[in-house]
Subunit: 339 residues, 2 copies
């Protein structure tokens, strides 16, 4: 049984595992207002493109259900629209928030009856989005086995495991599945500054799963690649443009360029829901810039002087030319992608 | 008047500015025992290849002077030998510790008379090493101006300023001198995990000097290079092999390979005392591996789970092929180097 980082409460509100407190504390947080949901997205208490889509859908239900169920049709649809728009804008780079709430909107609009029927349908739709992601993760992990071999040494960046999805994960899911099948993979875990998703989340998942791994400063990855200690790089994707450019956690571009320099294959791993056919190339992807304190005061302890400006983009864009292939639930793809 | 991170006390012991407490505290620490000196090296209270050489020499005097001055010649020389050997082994990668104590040993052996004469000569020799480094830094900064132009945007890694040397610095000294001359350079400062020498030390020096700068996570440098926001990379060197391979702070190799990928010139900046003609190439350089806690618990706050292994090399080796040139006190050099 894999970990899931979110759940419904019996009352129908949303529970999320607060990922900002891992690995030292496992604390669940109940979400019953739009404000709390947006705060959880903004503070990265839940993060990872697929998990954002699922919790956007579940959260939409959780925050509108009481008022919407008691409202006539028009009022319920208006509540859904209002919450959906705020959720879609919570983080600008991942396409999954928009994708999930648009799907929820369509389901609401296509459901006959009053508010109570609409809320019931939205709950079904959110469950469907979750179930589909779980199946998608399983399919990605299966297709990814083509890249695995006994004892393979994989470098990864950020967290793309169960904590980032509704299932076994994307990039990390491939390795976790290989571990379950006895291939004894070994994972080099970039700590992933500024928020340490590698140290805090990926290492925690691998430790739980009993998969061999080692945490390193992001800047130490080059030495590993140069020393021939990495067979394969697997990373996730927050958004894939039509030409194959990939927006992902800041640092991915550097890993991709270094992998190319040192002759190591580099795969982007993501569900096709992260592919954005409306986006022709990476230059059109809006990059979220985050608070300076994440860099200047890691874990709340100041390291940079007050008064020194900070550059803190959450994502970077890896050009398609540096990507060996795209592992998806439909197989390993190469651009141009079909619709 | 530039900052100096060390000084003699009136009594002849060594004072060092504790660089582990910057930028939030400026606290000086008096060194009057070999144990305290080795602890200061090991904890990086003083760091930077040239500063290590100077404080090795000054520290050798500080810790032997009382006993050696009262000893006959043979006893004094034995005290010097014993301390020198321990100091030389304090950190394995920088060549400057060995270089400085060997020079002090030769001066001791070549000085006539008893312990008091030897101690007086060693104090002169340490002062000479410091004064020479100050002149060397000035010459490096001067030669480096050939790479400067108004408004130039320089990416650097770790700290190579006054805090790392006995003068204006090496790589950062070039930029500081350009700032003094009104060229208004701009510096992109890699934070330099795991110990944040970029955030803590380089940003602090640039802020003091009024030079425009921005601190970034190491992994964000690739995006800057890709976006054409960097004109030049300047880094230091802890050791340069005869073929031009450079050992420097971990992360330097990645910056070098990315600079090459994105077509940005990359210069290693160091005094020729960091060049090791006895070392044929980078594969022969011993790389110091440091404590896991530096990665797992930055600033003492745990981010990686207990039980996750850590890879924490202090340095990496950049092959000569990735280095555009070597800025030294003798000019901008290219291998093979003359003796």
């Amino acid at each position: 049984m894999h970990l899931h980082p979110f759940a419904w409460t019996p009352a129908g509100t949303l529970l999320i595992l607060d990922q900002t407190l891992l690995p030292t504390q496992e604390r669940w947080r109940e979400i019953h207002s739009l404000e709390a949901l947006l705060e959880a997205f903004g503070s990265l208490r839940v993060r990872g493109a697929p998990a954002l889509g699922i919790t956007a859908a579940m959260g939409l239900v959780a925050v509108v259900r009481e008022r919407a169920a008691a409202a006539p049709r028009a009022g319920a649809l208006a509540l859904v629209e209002e919450a959906a728009e705020a959720i879609a804008l919570a983080r600008p780079t991942a396409v999954n928030l928009r994708w999930a709430v648009d799907r929820m909107r369509r389901r609401a609009a296509g459901t006959a009856g009053e508010g109570d029927a609409i809320v019931a349908a939205l709950r079904q739709e959110a469950d469907a989005i979750w179930a589909e992601d779980q199946a998608t993760c399983a399919a990605i992990a299966e297709h990814g086995q083509a890249l695995m071999r006994p004892g393979i040494r994989v470098l990864t960046h950020c967290n793309t495991g169960a904590l980032a999805t509704g299932g076994i994960g994307t990039a990390l899911g491939i390795v976790l599945r290989a571990g379950e099948r006895g291939l004894d993979p070994e994972v080099w875990v970039d700590e992933t500054r500024p928020l340490f998703q590698g140290s805090r989340l990926t290492a925690w998942e691998l430790l739980r799963a009993g998969v061999r791994h080692t945490v390193l400063p992001d800047a130490a990855a080059a030495a590993l690649l140069a020393d021939g200690k990495v067979d394969l790089v697997l990373v996730g994707a927050d958004r894939v443009a039509r030409n194959g450019d990939v927006a992902n956690k800041v640092g991915t571009l550097g890993v991709a360029a270094l992998a190319r320099h040192f002759g190591v294959p580099f795969y982007s791993v993501a569900p096709t829901s992260s592919f954005d056919p409306a986006c022709p190339d990476g230059s059109r992807i809006t990059i979220e810039h985050r608070d300076a304190a994440e860099v200047a005061a890691p874990s709340g302890v100041r390291v940079a002087p007050e008064g020194s400006p900070v550059y803190n983009p959450a994502f970077d864009v890896t050009p398609a030319a540096l990507v060996t292939g795209y592992v998806t639930e439909r197989g390993i793809l190469h651009p141009p992608f079909e619709d």
